[in-house]
Structures are given as structure tokens and as C-alpha cells.
């Protein structure tokens, strides 16, 4: 695992972004796009989806953290992402606790089991 390393991106509400930026993940300068998006009430779903897809295309992002209630808005885009890098982690928000049944990764993992498998 040599080299400079990749960034951790975050798409979340103000508190989530503030917390992770305090944690030291933020990158912001005039030469590059920021690796975070603060989602407010006025932020459109199109903008969220566009930002998410731009993070997927960038080869310098290793992990994308996204509030689960925001992930629900762009669930189709998240379900289409099959690559292991960048990894997409759904996290809770203040008003919406984490629900494992909605997590794309866990749904994919648990979806393998059907009644046929146990015969």
C-alpha cells in the first residue's frame, strides 16, 4: 500500500460534515474539487447524485461516507456501484438512525439466502 494514499469523501448534513472535517479528511483548494458535500434542505437530489457520481469517477477517493437518509434519495445510483473501490459506507444522521435493512451492502450480502439454499 505504497504511495500518497486516497481521500475519504463525505456527503452528509452539516453536523456530519463538520465532524468528519474536524477529523481531518477535508480537502479544499482552488485547484481541485472538494471531497465533501454539505447537504441542506435546498440541495437538490440531482446535485447529490452528480456529486456522488463525480466521487466514483475520481481515482483519488478510497471511501465515500454518506448519511443513510441521503443514500435513500439516490439508492438507484448506489446499487449500481459494484466496484470495491471506492467503498461506500452508509452512516446514520441525527434525525435518522442507521437501519441495516436499507444498507445496499448488507442487502446484497443477505440476499443470497433463499428457501432453496436450506433444502
Amino acid at each position: 500500500m505504497a504511495g500518497r494514499g486516497k481521500l475519504i469523501a463525505v456527503i452528509g448534513d452539516e453536523d456530519t460534515c463538520t465532524g468528519f472535517l474536524l477529523g481531518g479528511i477535508g480537502e479544499l483548494n482552488k485547484n481541485r474539487s472538494p471531497n465533501f458535500l454539505v447537504v441542506e434542505k435546498e440541495t437538490s437530489i440531482a446535485e447529490i447524485e452528480e456529486t456522488f457520481k463525480s466521487f466514483l469517477i475520481r481515482n483519488d477517493i478510497g471511501i465515500i461516507l454518506i448519511n443513510q437518509f441521503i443514500a435513500e434519495m439516490i439508492r438507484h445510483a448506489i446499487d449500481q456501484h459494484m466496484e470495491s473501490i471506492p467503498a461506500v459506507l452508509e452512516i446514520p444522521s441525527k434525525e435518522h438512525p442507521y437501519d441495516a435493512s436499507k444498507d445496499s451492502i448488507l442487502r446484497r450480502a443477505k440476499g443470497m439466502f433463499s428457501a432453496e439454499d436450506f433444502r
Binding site: 500500500m1 505504497a2 504511495g3 500518497r4 494514499g5 486516497k6 481521500l7 475519504i8 452539516e14 453536523d15 456530519t16 460534515c17 463538520t18 465532524g19 468528519f20 472535517l21 474536524l22 477529523g23 481531518g24 479528511i25 477535508g26 480537502e27 479544499l28 483548494n29 472538494p34 471531497n35 454539505v38 478510497g62 471511501i63 461516507l65 470495491s84 473501490i85 467503498a87 459506507l89 452512516i91 446514520p92 441525527k94 438512525p97 442507521y98 441495516a100 451492502i105 448488507l106 446484497r108 450480502a109 443470497m112 439454499d117
Partner: protein
């Protein structure tokens, strides 16, 4: 053929057990991650209560930021990805001060500001070192993108904000572990599905 059938079944069972263990570990790490995030928010709310609502918000973000933590990735032969964080240590204020002094010495030219009339009187009294050491305008402090993000919120921040930062730093480390486990779970799932398909296609194994 009997041995290979048994071997196939044993391998399938082992794979299934590994998958279950990975799922259980993933769930544990997730719970820890979520609880740390909530702890961070709670500390941030307490800091906001003491500092003021607008003092801990997006308005305080630095105009320039450099990431202090990066994640190193590695893809294994099986397609599984591993993630590991690496945090950069910030330079101490003394080190930064030393670097700042260096260029100023090289520039060397000390500017006297509005002192042309004064030297006639002060020739016998050159005890005003501060006129000679006025800093040149070019050495204004520039925002340091590598600074600790805590400094965006002021010089003296409450302990609760430092606690929030500590919680989120742990969350970042744990995120890499959760990402690694997620990838492992999905890879094991794929392998299990392939084995199940091959066993269902072989009628001997289903007997």
C-alpha cells in the same frame, strides 16, 4: 468421487461459517462506528451550546484545507479490497516558526518606515530597535491549509469540541476497517454463490 463430494460439502460449509463470522464482525464494528458518531455529535452539540449556535457550523470552515488523514487501498487476488488509514502529524508551532524566520533572514533588507526625518535627531541615540525590525509587508501570515481543523473555531475551544474531534478521528480509523470487512463479505458471498451453482449443476452432489 465420494471423497470429492464430501470435500466439496466441507469446503462449502467452511466458506459459509467464514461468511457468518464476517457478517457478525461487520455488525459489531458497525455498532461501534455508529455509537462513536453519535458520541461525536453529542460533544459537538455541547460545544455549540457553550460557544454559540453559529460558532460551530459550516461558516467556520477554512478557506483552504489539506487532508490530514488518507486511506491506502490494496486489491487482493480474490478481488477483495483492503483499506488502511494513515494520519499525517502536524508540524509543531516552533518548527513552523523556524521555517518562517528563515526566508525573512534571507530577504535581509530592513525597511525603515517613515524614519527619514528622525535619524538626524536619533544618530546619537540608536536605541530604537523596533524601527529597524518592522516586518516587511510581504511576510503577512497566510492561512495554513495544514493546520488543525480545531483552529477554525477559535484559539481557545472548549474541551467538548476536542472530544468531538477525538471521536470523529476514531470514526475515520474504524471506517477503513468496516470498508475492508464489507469488501470481504461481498467477496465471500460471491465465492459461495459460485460454489453453490457448481454443486447444483453436478447432480451427484445433490444426492
Amino acid at each position: 468421487m465420494g471423497l470429492s463430494e464430501k470435500e466439496e460439502c466441507v469446503l462449502l460449509d467452511q466458506k459459509l461459517l467464514v461468511f457468518m463470522d464476517q457478517l457478525e464482525l461487520l455488525e459489531e464494528k458497525r455498532e461501534r462506528l455508529n455509537s462513536l458518531i453519535e458520541q461525536g455529535w453529542f460533544s459537538m452539540s455541547k460545544a455549540r451550546y457553550s460557544m454559540g449556535n453559529k460558532q460551530v457550523s459550516a461558516l467556520q470552515y477554512g478557506s483552504e484545507m489539506e487532508p490530514l488523514v488518507r486511506v491506502h487501498t490494496r486489491t487482493l487476488e480474490s478481488g477483495e479490497a483492503e483499506f488502511q488509514t494513515k494520519r499525517r502529524t502536524l508540524k509543531s508551532p516552533e518548527e513552523r516558526q523556524v521555517e518562517d524566520i528563515g526566508p525573512k533572514d534571507k530577504e535581509g533588507v530592513r525597511r525603515r518606515v517613515k524614519t527619514q526625518e528622525v535619524p538626524e535627531i536619533d544618530q546619537s541615540d540608536n536605541k530604537h530597535p523596533w524601527t529597524e525590525t518592522e516586518p516587511a509587508p510581504s511576510s503577512k501570515p497566510e492561512p495554513n491549509p495544514q493546520q488543525d481543523p480545531l483552529k477554525w473555531f477559535g484559539i481557545l475551544v472548549p474541551q467538548t469540541l476536542k472530544q468531538a474531534q477525538a471521536s470523529f478521528k476514531q470514526v475515520v480509523e474504524l471506517s477503513a476497517e468496516v470498508a475492508t470487512l464489507q469488501s470481504a463479505v461481498l467477496t465471500t458471498r460471491q465465492q459461495l454463490q459460485m460454489k453453490q451453482k457448481s454443486s447444483s449443476q453436478n447432480p451427484d452432489l445433490t444426492d
